[in-house]
Amino acid sequence: MLLRHTTDEVLERTSLTINPAKTCQPVGAMYAALGLHNCLPHSHGSQGCCSYHRSALTKHYKEPVMAATSSFTEGASVFGGQANLLQAITTIFTLYNPDVIAVHTTCLSETIGDDLVQIIAKAVAEGKVPEGKHVIHASTPSYQGSHVTGFSNMAKALVTYFADPEAAKSKQITLMPGWVEPSDMRELKNLAARLGVEVTLYPDTSDVLDTPHTGKHEFYPKGGATVEQIKASGGSLAAIGMGPSASQAALEALQSKCGVPGTLLELPIGLQATDRFIDTLRTLAGVEVPQSITDERGRLLDVISDMHQYLHGKRVAIFGDPDQLVSLVEFLNLLDMKPVYIVTGTPTPQFETRIQTALGGNVPEAKIKAGLQADMYLLHQWIKQESVDLLIGNTYGKYIARDEDIPFIRHGFPILDRVGHSYFPSVGYAGAMRLLEKILGAFMDRQDRDAPEERFELTM
């Protein structure tokens, strides 16, 4: 047993994270920056960070992921990384010619106290940034928050650097999707288009991390929101931010900088959260919901009603990123299942309250933990004390699933051992349908596997 070292007794731990349910800020900033068209993310720190972050994203998406690094040396750690970053800016514009360099910091550059605002200003003053090109930055110290915080910080930087308060007022609505997959971003745009609402979505990694095979390695794939679009979002009629952890900061920045009224929603995962998303979009834009969307919702409801008996009372353990968890828990609750253990490594204010709201008082026994020591070791210990019927989370859950023989559904970041997440959405009614199919499939496969011969059923 791989995790034979997990004890079932939960010992008080004061100073350690074991088997983390999170990773560090920069990778989130890198992912968000990839959602900008013709942008090269840049990691201001040691070479290793950049290499790890690129590898992590590559393994999750099976796509090339481009990013540059300041390649810190001993010297930089003593005298600061200004020289490295200035040289990097020159190198990047000469060699890789992006429209934007999106710099994020690392634990090292934060600790030695590099002042990115000043360094970027210096680069501009020295003419290192060609006409029409941009260098932006987000501060992403790895010793605060998690990868989700990094995403949030870079999403906010897109607003603070680009959104234009003077932009012409328009009818379009800005969508901030939060940390979801390219497939989800595509689906959100699709839903808006079907509603007949003009939207700008950013960050937008669709057509960046799910590119078709063309026989070429496109250094900058065709997707990503453009600088122009983000500038213009300053004149949006309204903005919707999805998932407080990943989108609230950017949403508020757009509101205070450009006066665009923002609505903060939970991620539109599951039936009710999607209802709220559609309804908000409909109200803001003053449109009717087309029959095709109503029908899609109806089909989802139909499957739930057909299959509800398979779902009743099933105990679920779930871990991952806070915004995802809140919506998933709400959906599981609607499905009459019992999310009993809920863990995120990301420190999240209000997490417990949000989860309790999503549970609607139906699962008083639920154990909820966020932040320090909220790791998979703890989750495993809980499971050992009283097991569950289903585990939902990223690939790292497979160890627990195997050791405890629990059906397992992959959801979140990273997924290193399956495909599909970048192609099939989990947002919207279609996404909910896919989640439901996976959940049912997991239960029914298990039933087929374990049923004694005489109870092996043909029709389920």
């Binding site: 074991i18 930089a76 090292l108």
Partner: protein
């Protein structure tokens, strides 16, 4: 041809170029390059990781630990403590006040809970900067708990992956010599530089066993602390992956007078030669006979199976981009064995001698590159019309996007590629990727679409 950053001109060479061969290497990557390189920590972590009954604790913010959780397929036949991820997960307060207390408490908690044979403490980027005295904490815990607690000085910015290997070797050196060498026979070796990826160490161990050689320790594949502690009792150190372990071998020679030889277990020729070299070292006729018989037996089984692959692959072109250059030597030879030519070869961290040796090995026109980047690599692949690219995780999708086959020869590989059996796996992997029908549908093989249709 690729736009090569001016500074990089001297890091790329084409065999047959008029100018004399001189390749700049062992330099820091230019800031701003999309380098495929990793850092010091990465080097240390991959080398020590396979020691399965030790505690590996990453001291720093969470990222470094997350990214290296169960990172390589280094198998263990016993404990699997190494596959868990332990981190002090430093927070802002720790950065201000120092992380020593947390490290101390964490180490104590973990040692009590898991009773490991030793503990490695990896100091990552900010640990030195915030002023933690990791050495002192380790010493204290070691005294209190009675096991070796070894600091690994692996701050990311303090060099390249190679410096990380060195830091790992330094930590290992403190272990070696602390156990009793009693009972070790004269015909004994340590296997250095094999990491038991996909069970490779087990295969190699078995070959030695059949030769009548005692393996005292494997450093670090399927590694055990107690074995490493008595490694100084072995009569010979057999070093593979010279990039990572030569430092250790040299130190052991200096300290204990143990001679070492370099070997490679990859490819038929290199594998056989390695075993013969070991047998020759012991000057034992019987052992040599056993070795010859074993190699013959293995080859008789292998050759007919390889023949089919060779027929299909003859004339195909390969490109190689790997971490250490030593690996590239064997790859060039193995590909040649399959009838293939290597048209581009590069590494993240090769040195002058490595590249000189590569130049001698390769055909005219072969591109040799140090510390390359994705732009360059893609353009080399296109220019040379490559059929298979051999590299690591970040290179794989680039090859596929271009419509080129791929074989993972990095530490995340799933198939054993070492040994005689490994050669067959390698041939099968290269074959299955090069010959995949999917490439017929890609633009690179334009025209052949029609073939598929009719």
């Amino acid at each position: 041809m690729a736009d090569i950053l001016r500074e990089r001109e001297r890091q790329v060479y084409r065999k047959g170029d008029l100018q004399p061969f001189q390749l700049d290497c062992e330099k820091q990557s230019a800031a701003g390059s999309v380098s495929q390189r990793a850092c010091v920590f990465c080097g240390s972590r991959v080398v020590l990781y396979p020691i399965a009954d030790a505690l590996h604790i990453v001291h720093g913010p969470i990222g470094c630990a997350s990214y290296t959780w169960d990172i390589r397929g280094a198998l263990s036949s016993g404990p699997e403590l190494h596959r868990l991820s332990f981190s002090t997960d430093l927070q802002e307060m720790d950065v201000v006040q120092g992380g020593e207390k947390k490290l101390y408490a964490g180490l104590c908690e973990l040692i009590d809970a898991h009773q490991p044979k030793a503990a490695f403490v990896y100091a990552t980027c900010i640990v030195g900067v915030i002023g933690d005295d990791v050495e002192a904490v380790c010493k204290r815990v070691s005294l209190e708990k009675g096991i070796p607690v070894l600091p690994v000085h692996s701050e990311g910015f303090k060099g390249t992956k190679k410096d990380g290997y060195r830091a790992a070797c330094d930590a290992l050196l403190k272990l070696v010599g602390t156990g009793s060498p009693e009972g070790i026979t004269p015909h004994s070796i340590n296997i250095l530089g094999d990491f038991n990826l996909a069970g490779e160490t087990w295969m190699i161990r078995d070959y030695y066993k059949r030769m009548g050689v005692e393996v005292v320790s494997c450093i670090t594949g399927d590694g055990r602390v107690d074995e490493i502690r008595r490694a100084h009792g072995a009569a010979l150190n057999v070093v593979q992956c010279s990039g990572s372990m030569t430092h250790l071998a040299k130190q052991l020679e200096e300290k204990y007078g143990t001679p070492f030889i370099r070997v490679s277990y990859f490819g038929v020729e290199d594998m056989s030669k390695s075993l013969y070299d070991v047998a020759r070292h012991f000057k034992d006729k019987e052992m040599m006979k056993r070795t010859q018989a074993m190699v013959r037996e293995e080859l008789e089984r292998l050759m007919p199976q390889l023949a089919d692959y060779k027929r299909a692959l003859t004339g195909k072109r390969a490109a190689i981009y790997v971490g250490g250059a030593f690996k590239a030597f064997s790859l060039v030879a193995a590909l040649r064995h399959l009838g293939m030519t290597t048209v581009m070869v590069g590494s993240q961290t090769g040195n002058k001698d490595d590249y000189e040796q590569l130049r001698e090995l390769c055909d005219e026109g072969t591109i040799i590159a140090d510390d390359s980047n994705p732009l360059e690599l893609s353009s080399f692949l296109e220019e040379k019309d490559v059929d298979v690219f051999i590299g690591g995780v970040k290179e794989r999708p680039i090859a596929y996007k271009l419509g080129i086959g791929f074989c993972d020869h990095n530490h995340e590989r799933k198939e054993a590629l070492a040994g005689f059996e490994g050669m067959l796996n390698f041939a099968r992997e290269v074959y299955s990727s090069v010959m995949s029908p999917v490439w017929r549908l890609t633009p690179r093989r334009r025209g052949s679409n029609l073939e598929v249709v009719k």
